[in-house]
């Protein structure tokens, strides 16, 4: 079985199991308790927080652990804005966790505007500049587009916003960027940055939000005051420790991995371009992370291809642009994809352990599947 849907989720690294054994079974204590065993656990979390903070160039005081990337996004958008009105800018290809939360801000009275992207899901800088003025209170732009892999120039976008509206907050959804490309929140200049554990071989149910020192958020969960009183709940100790051990193990080789992954992307692009005449690529390989390649083949449905490929032993994704989910047509529309291709969007995404041979197998299987399916094109 070849798994090419790593942008949806990754296989958890077995190193996480040690953390579950150690902090779920052996040292299972509640970190808020008063005995020394609990203090040990608290210190472990502190160390994990430090490891994770370092992985994005932050300090441990700037990391809030959450249960997911979506929760981090919600926290950033719903709990950071101080004024009761103003303009909020998000891109029109944001993940639903941002897009739908922005809709909620709109219902709460903020003026929400959607920044357009180019054909490949990258923010159109000229159009973006037109939207920014001194009424902006919050901007949220994804670092890497989950549909196409497009890598946004967050540093320039953030600088532009801060110049035109110095008090505006800048949030970046880094769920697809974290662990795929080096991230330094200080260099990027952002106020908040979201990430998720399960996209980087960590467990599901753990994420974090970087919150720049000096910025205070309103609580999203009330209770015992954990996570600086912003997100009360007994800490998910085992998952925090698991994520920390994955980061410690894998992030030192991030650069080398990124190069390997990029070479897979370029190879896949070339092989697909050679194999299909009616193929439309939605990923610009020059301005994207290497682990995602999005494309569509004319006349075949992405959903059906996914099922056929699964029969051939290869798991691929459609992203959220699955043809059957009518409510998710906004991505092909935002990318300006022609109707002939819109239902055929496929997103293949690999990781550092995949090989060119697997890409070859994938392309060979796809050629066979597409030939069969083209027999049944709509008459």
């Amino acid at each position: 079985m070849i798994y090419f849907d790593n942008a949806a989720t990754t296989q958890m690294d077995k190193i996480c199991l040690d953390a579950y054994q150690q902090y779920g079974v052996d040292n299972f204590y509640n970190p808020s308790a008063l005995y020394s065993k609990a203090l040990e656990v608290t210190n472990c979390i502190k160390s994990a927080r430090n490891t994770i903070a370092k992985s994005i160039g932050a300090t441990k005081e700037e990391i809030i652990f959450t249960a997911s990337g979506s929760e981090s996004d919600n926290l950033a958008l719903l709990c950071s804005i101080k004024s009761k009105k103003g303009k909020v800018i998000v891109s029109n290809v944001e993940h639903s966790a941002i897009y739908n939360t922005a809709q909620e801000l709109s219902r709460r009275g903020y003026e929400v505007v959607f920044a357009p992207t180019d054909r490949f899901g990258r923010i159109d800088m000229t159009e973006f500049e037109k939207l920014v003025d001194d009424s902006v209170v919050l901007v949220s732009i994804m670092h890497v587009c989950n549909e196409t892999g497009a890598l946004n120039d967050i540093k320039s976008l953030c600088k532009l916003v801060k110049t035109k509206s110095p008090y505006a907050l800048f949030h970046c959804d880094g769920v697809q960027a974290y662990g795929k490309t080096p991230v330094n929140v200080k260099t990027l200049g952002v106020d908040m940055y979201s990430a998720s554990g399960h996209k980087v071989h960590g467990p599901k149910g753990i994420g974090f939000l970087f919150v720049k020192k000096g910025l205070t958020l309103r609580p999203i969960i009330f209770g015992g005051g954990q996570e600086e009183n912003i997100r009360s709940a007994t800490e998910n100790v085992a998952s925090i420790m698991a994520l920390s051990s994955v980061v410690e193990k894998n992030f030192s080789s991030l650069k080398a991995n990124a190069e390997h992954i990029k070479s897979l992307q370029l190879y896949a692009y070339q092989k697909l371009a050679e194999s299909f005449d009616d193929i439309l690529f939605n990923t610009d390989t020059e301005h994207s992370v290497g682990n995602i390649l999005s494309f569509a083949i004319k006349g075949v449905r992405g959903e059906v291809v996914t099922h056929c490929m699964e029969q051939a032993g290869i798991i691929v994704g459609t992203g959220s642009a699955c043809s059957a989910r009518k409510s998710h047509h906004r991505i092909p529309q935002a990318l300006g994809i022609d109707n002939d291709y819109a239902e055929g969007m496929l997103r293949i995404s690999w990781n550092e352990s995949n090989t060119k041979e697997e890409i070859d197998q994938f392309v060979a299987a796809l050629i066979k599947v597409v030939a069969e399916l083209q027999e049944y094109q709509r008459k």
Binding site: E303, V304, C308, S323, A324, K326, E375, Y376, R378, K379
Partner: protein, 390 residues
């Protein structure tokens, strides 16, 4: 004071000599639907009572009973000893607090009491007026009617509001129907309506993997499961339909693809139905809703059915009415899930609206090995047994 549920049945009272058959079925359906709950079932003439239950499960009892076809309505009643003062106290509990019109109606089976029905009603009306002097008596069209049913064994039931049940006829009294179940809004409603007329349900679904997904199949399983709350066990037959659809696509005229597909579907449904003691096919067709549901299309499809009647309970219903029922029976949310079903995947750009039977037969005949494919599909049917779930 002890609360009980008073159950009334509907159309059954119209039955003559075979009323017992219908009643027995209804009672067994009631008991099946209340499986796992502690209560006592009491049968009296023309009424049933659910008694001796813990008050905590009253809502659950009502929720289940309102789904039993054959029951007309129910009331939450108070069961007491037939003593006037006690009756007066309970009647006061049922007395409306706002200024409105009311009456007390008394049915007295126990003739040993010293007052007749009218006198008891007057006396109890007095209790109501003393509780709320702003009430006015209206014997013809009262806004609130408090009923007192005095039984022979020295006890009485007092109740007021009526909760409507699903009505119809007890499931299992009208034979078994084979429902052609897609993932849409219509077919589950059609199944529900026929179960309401007493039909026991089996369902058949056509699955075209990889053109349709496992999610689409699961959606149909979930829809069939929803129906079990009303009709009890459902057997779902999932027919592997990919080969047949592909052959239709390769061999037949594009505009006739849907017509031929539906002809083959009803043919398979009838064969499976006959093998499983079904007496009818049930479809969710509604006249003119789509190209395959015009009079001409229905005629051409119907011709492929040899012996069994095809029940189309939605034929004269508007989509709006169908959706409303889907909401009511809780299939709406499942039906609106967007997974493709086998009909939409091979939908031609321009399906024929007024197909000709001759052309359909001729085009269908172009699939040389159709009989072989049909037999193979039936041999490979997946059977999913669904138990009643609430």
């Amino acid at each position: 004071m002890k609360k009980v549920l008073l159950l009334r049945y509907g159309e059954l009272f119209l039955k003559g000599k075979n009323k017992n058959y219908f009643e027995n079925k209804l009672i067994s359906n009631i008991k099946e639907s209340l499986e796992g709950l502690d209560y006592t079932f009491v049968k009296t003439q023309n009424r049933y009572y659910i008694e001796d239950y813990d008050e905590d499960i009253q809502d659950e009892l009502i929720s289940r009973l309102t789904k039993v076809f054959g029951l007309h309505s129910l009331s939450i009643a108070t069961k007491i000893k037939s003593e006037y003062e006690l009756m007066g106290q309970v009647v006061q509990e049922y007395t409306p607090t706002e200024p409105t019109t009311f009456r007390v109606s008394v049915n007295r089976a126990d003739k040993s009491l010293d007052k007749n029905s009218m006198q008891i009603a007057q006396m109890l009306g007095g209790y109501c007026l003393s509780k709320n002097p702003k009430l006015k008596v209206d014997l013809s069209h009262p806004k609130c009617e408090i009923k007192v049913d005095i039984r022979e064994q020295g006890y009485s039931y007092i109740f007021s509001d009526k909760i409507m049940c699903a009505q119809g006829m007890p499931v299992g009294t009208a034979g078994r129907g084979m429902l052609l179940l897609s993932g849409g809004f219509d077919s589950p409603v059609a199944g529900w309506r026929m179960a309401r007329r007493g039909m026991d349900l089996y369902a058949i679904h056509y699955h075209s993997y990889p053109h349709t997904s496992e999610l689409a199949k699961q959606k149909v399983v979930d829809l069939a499961q929803k129906l079990t709350a009303y009709c009890g066990k459902v057997k779902l037959f999932v027919v592997p339909f990919t080969d047949i659809q592909q052959q239709i696509h390769i061999n037949c005229r594009a505009d006739y693809m849907i017509t031929i597909m539906r002809r083959i579907m009803v043919d398979i449904a009838e064969r499976v139905a006959k093998n499983n003691n079904c007496v009818a096919l049930i479809t969710g067709e509604s006249l003119g809703q789509v190209a395959s549901q015009t009079s001409q299309s229905i005629t051409v499809t119907n011709q492929a059915v040899k012996d069994l009647p095809v029940f189309r309970p939605l034929i004269g219903m508007d989509k709006y009415e169908i959706m409303e029922t889907a909401e009511k029976i809780d299939t709406y949310k499942l039906s609106e899930l967007p997974y493709e079903d086998c009909c939409t995947v091979f939908l031609p750009k321009y399906p024929v609206i007024k197909p000709s039977l001759d052309v359909a037969i001729k085009e269908q005949a172009k699939i040389a090995n159709l009989e072989e494919l049909v037999v193979k599909a039936i041999e490979n049917v997946e059977i999913i047994n669904l138990e009643r779930e609430f």
